[in-house]
Symmetry: C2
Subunit: 417 residues, 2 copies
């Protein structure tokens, strides 16, 4: 099978590297020789790449009937979308690692692939080397997926893990992550949750079979997480993780991206540093978790290569991994329910009645959490409350007591079947 | 698609339950109505099952050309093997949850499926609801898999987890597990490692593409693990896990089943109770781990149903999940290398020179581990030694010092790429 690689950055060059490194295995499993005929790049010369492979002109690839498969590793929406569309319309299989284009235009590309009896694969777009797209397609095919919750961004997880381990601030830890190459110069996509949000949208589309736009998912990042929050998390034996989560309850869909306090009962507690973890809950399978490297040149490229092999195995067999063009409706953030961790001004003395009536439904015992040596604030953990209700209670509490609530963080446990 | 279910125990009845519970989802994803035409059972009447579905005669199923797929949930090798073979020869797809028959006869069944252009699927034979077979087939297709190490038996993991948590003995914990229904009356397959050994053989066959017999895998169970061992593990912050492990080093294959001390650097450390975890290492993907319920009626049945959907999606498309008939050669146990945890009679005083020269290559500092209040024994952790060499050193040490080594347990860390 002759292929073209479009885009020769980290992922594109990684694909060439993996195809060369594991050539024997790839050809044995794919049942076909995989030959790179073109590399679409911006420059005409790339060190270590024969000039005759390189082209700067997409139409050369598009028009060559020998090219049966195209890897799209350009990133961004334009011109990636137009290039993919044009290849699919010519019956070429396309493998993409590009979450932006899959999130924004996935359903149109999937329909076009179906119309031209070729495959559009995108395993590498979520979770890098973690086998989540195919697991949802194959192993969860007969399940009603009730929840997917994941640590989907290695940079944020690295920063949060390091803040907890070292007691450092967000700003200092971000700088350190940038110095080590784990965070980009403009870290917004990672630390403000947009990368996680796109991946979450793709996971919800896969599990629901409907189109989901990441713009419709309530998204918060980790900039507001302070060293004080982490000190409490440490004392309580929780981790703060940036989670992307989707839930289905009787045809209603819930989704959000936010920093969440995760306890030891959830396997996501144990996913540290740059690793990613994706917990999937099915009505029969129960809880499963997939764990691995969510980014990086070789893991991501290996996921692309697994798609190339899938295409070689399904040359004339449309697989239909994906979703329809029907838009999904996501319930408003206020209808999600959480426990809340709240940091409150002063001490709990004198306001116990209010704490109970606003956050504990008046019933349960109040156990204020106090950091050693701190008199100026304390924390509590609320009952499970709907977010809309919680926010109203928060305002009411602040007004009635005159106490400021410095910060709140949502908490979530594992749903046991 | 009309199907037959052979065997109506836990798995067989679970398959019927999942097909009914998730009917809409299954038919949508498989693109076909799935209708149970026969249930092969020992009895002619089963409460809750219409009589006309039940047959006690396999030839009825075999001869009915309407039956396109057969689920084998009989267990054991005979007559499961003969039934599967006969169905494949008639071009019927077969889905099996039976690790014994996959381990003993898999390669013959796979060849027969290929010859008759139908599929033989066995996702549920290893790891129950954990998607390991398909992940190896699809996502690791282009990888050189260097290691697979798993907690593959929930009963053993439950017993070991409970022994550590409660400080109880193996015998008492086994009784408790039997009382709770987690262990069978005859627990040998679980606690002596044979169940893990069969699953390990299947994983090695999948990753190597060659046939592996579980009889060729060095297999130890957990009966020898004592409450004293657990007391040390607790003090050292390790877990003792029954692991099945395969490694590939330059065309040499290593495999074993044994209780291993696992530290926090390995995600298998966090897999508690009846959960299973399978860590797979690829040369490009690095470490990934799959986590979930390794047994149980609905998780196992759901894996079978995912295979039924795969068959519906690949009616005229042979997938070739499996391995060849070429036998693999496994290196002898003595050529595996580990650190060793050793419990030694007396105190370390007076034999420090011998401890170092036998187990620490004379170099590093010796840190004896002593349980609070115990003068009669202590423990050390050796350097990494080849097992053959280690066993010789063990004999030499006992002879030279006259001290008994009460017990040793192998230790293993995660291979970082």
């Amino acid at each position: 099978m002759k292929i073209a690689i479009m885009g020769f950055g980290t992922v594109g060059s990684g694909v060439k590297e993996v195809l060369e490194l594991n050539r024997e295995q790839v050809e044995k499993k794919g049942g076909d020789k995989i030959e790179i005929k073109y590399i679409l790049a911006r420059r005409e010369h790339i060190p270590g790449v024969p000039d005759e492979l390189i082209t700067t002109d997409f139409s050369v690839i598009e028009k060559d009937p020998e090219v049966e498969l195209v890897v799209e590793a350009i990133g961004g929406i334009h011109p990636a979308y137009e290039y993919i569309m044009s290849c699919l319309e010519k019956g070429k299989h396309v493998v993409s690692s590009n979450k932006a284009v899959v999130d924004a235009c996935g359903s149109k590309l999937m329909r076009t692939a179906k119309e031209h009896n070729c495959n559009f694969y995108f395993e590498a777009s979520v979770g890098g080397g973690i086998p989540v797209i195919r697991t949802l397609y194959h192993n969860y095919a007969g399940e009603n997926v009730t929840e997917i919750t994941g640590i989907l961004n290695g940079t944020s997880n690295f920063i949060l893990s390091k803040m907890k381990d070292e007691g450092s601030t967000f700003a200092d830890t971000l700088k350190e992550a940038q110095r080590l190459g784990y965070a980009e110069k403009d870290p917004s996509a990672d630390v403000d949750g947009f990368d996680t949000s796109r991946k979450t949208a793709i996971l919800l589309s896969m599990s629901s079979g409907m189109r989901c736009r990441h713009e419709d998912i309530h998204t918060e990042g980790i900039r507001e997480i302070s060293d004080m929050d982490m000190a409490y998390a440490k004392q309580m034996d929780y981790h703060i993780r940036l989670l992307g989560s989707v839930e289905t309850v009787e045809d209603k869909y819930f989704a959000y991206v936010a920093p969440i306090m995760v306890g030891k009962d959830d396997p996501l507690y144990f996913v540290n540093g740059v690793y990613n973890g994706i917990r999937i809950v099915g009505n029969c399978l129960g809880n499963t978790m997939l764990y691995g490297k969510g980014a990086g040149k070789l893991p991501t490229a290996s996921a692309v290569v697994s798609d190339i092999i899938a295409a070689a195995r399904h040359k004339n067999h449309f697989q239909g991994i994906g979703w329809s063009e029907k838009m999904i409706e996501i319930e408003p953030m206020g209808s999600n329910a959480f426990r809340y961790f709240l940091r409150i001004e002063g001490t709990a003395e004198g306001i116990q009645k209010e704490l109970k009536s606003y956050f504990l439904d008046g019933g349960e015992a109040l156990k204020p959490i106090v950091l050693k040596g701190r008199q100026d604030e304390f924390a509590i953990v609320s009952d499970i409350l709907f977010e809309e209700d919680f926010l109203a209670r928060l305002r009411g509490f602040e007004e009635e007591t005159g106490r400021r609530v410095f910060h709140f963080i949502r908490m979530k446990g594992m749903t046991e079947e």
